[in-house]
């Protein structure tokens, strides 16, 4: 009995030691970039295909559940969506006109030739992971490189390419907690430092008295791309600055396709 207990104890000690060693090696592997990238690359050989089956399964599930929705709610949803589409069509027309003017201006200034963009499908969004990271199905084989800007809907910038594999890549979102970026806020393009708060949300500080209000656009200097729109301006009487909370104009978790601006 005593011998068995001693054997069990030594077995447990052995397992504990093995676990400690494994954790230590894992921390090293995760911290040392070349090892981490190599291991991630192995996983990303199969991950994109598995995620694509997930997307198909979710779509099928949504279609199946639609059969159980009450007709009245579907009709109401249809009306709302039609109104939204009509409103957006008008906005797009206005933007198209503006885009044409910008292209003509660039041409006149001798800066013709817009950037090259690669479309990529989003394989994993921040809702699936504890990180503000997007997995996309385009990689170095498509000309994508580390640091390339990633945009959504042709204008809103969302992040940069953080890791690249042959046929896929990881995009680090600008809204990741801990991320800090210089931005221009509002009609007077007041410069500030925007801190990520996760899932497309940001916080910035501006001096008290700055011209900023809800709905103002926030732009990233690099590429002059839209980062978000101001949602709330919070002022505390005792402090010399105002807190500006802004977010991307779309839900980061719901985007299915992005564009990567590749270097020529």
């Amino acid at each position: 009995m005593k011998m068995m207990r001693l054997r069990d104890n030594s077995l447990l000690r052995g397992k504990n030691l093995a676990l400690i060693i494994f954790v230590a090696i894992s921390i090293f592997a995760l911290s040392y970039n070349p090892v981490r990238t190599a291991l991630s690359q192995v996983l990303y050989i199969v991950a994109p295909s598995i995620w694509k089956t997930r997307a198909v399964a979710l779509e099928s599930g949504d279609t199946f559940l639609t059969n159980f929705k009450i007709k009245r709610s579907l009709v109401y949803e249809n009306i709302i969506l039609r109104e939204e589409v009509a409103r957006m069509q008008v906005q797009v027309l206005d933007r198209n006109l503006l885009s044409e003017k910008v292209l003509k201006l660039e041409d006149a200034l001798g800066r013709a030739g817009s950037d090259n963009r690669v479309s990529a499908e989003v394989l994993s969004s921040p809702r699936w992971s504890p990180y503000d990271i997007l997995g996309i199905d385009a990689g170095s084989d498509h000309g994508i490189a580390l640091g390339d800007l990633v945009v959504y809907a042709n204008a809103g910038v969302i992040g940069v390419v953080a890791e690249v594999y042959p046929t896929s890549a990881k995009v680090k979102l600008y809204s990741s907690p801990g991320e800090e970026n210089i931005v221009f806020i509002g009609p007077k393009s007041t410069p500030s430092s925007a801190h990520g708060r996760g899932m497309g949300n940001f916080e910035a500080k501006l001096p008290k008295g700055s011209v900023v209000e809800k709905g103002d656009i926030v732009v990233l200097p690099k590429g002059n791309l839209i980062l978000g729109t101001v949602g709330l301006v919070e002022e505390e009487p005792a402090l010399p600055f105002v807190n500006v909370f802004f977010r991307t104009p779309f839900n980061i978790a719901d985007i299915h396709e992005v564009e990567v601006i590749i270097k020529k």
Binding site: R36, W128, Y131
Partner: protein
Amino acid sequence: MIMKRVLFDLVLLATLFYLPWWCLLLFIAVGVYLFPFYGEAVVFGLLLDLLYGTNILYGFGIIGLVSSLGIFLLVLRIKKAVRN
């Protein structure tokens, strides 16, 4: 018992790819409670970080590993307390 453990590992593998990350941590907690010395918990935490993180993020991209190890130790302690 080994067969059940292998099947449970496969369920966790599917959870890693098909369900949100917090579901994986939940299943890890269940696994640590059900099986003796469920070291696979830490492996799945590592896989979570490799799949979804980078080392230039907050937490240095080791949140999955640290969380799974934390859950492993906590649930092990709870298991001992419940069985005593």
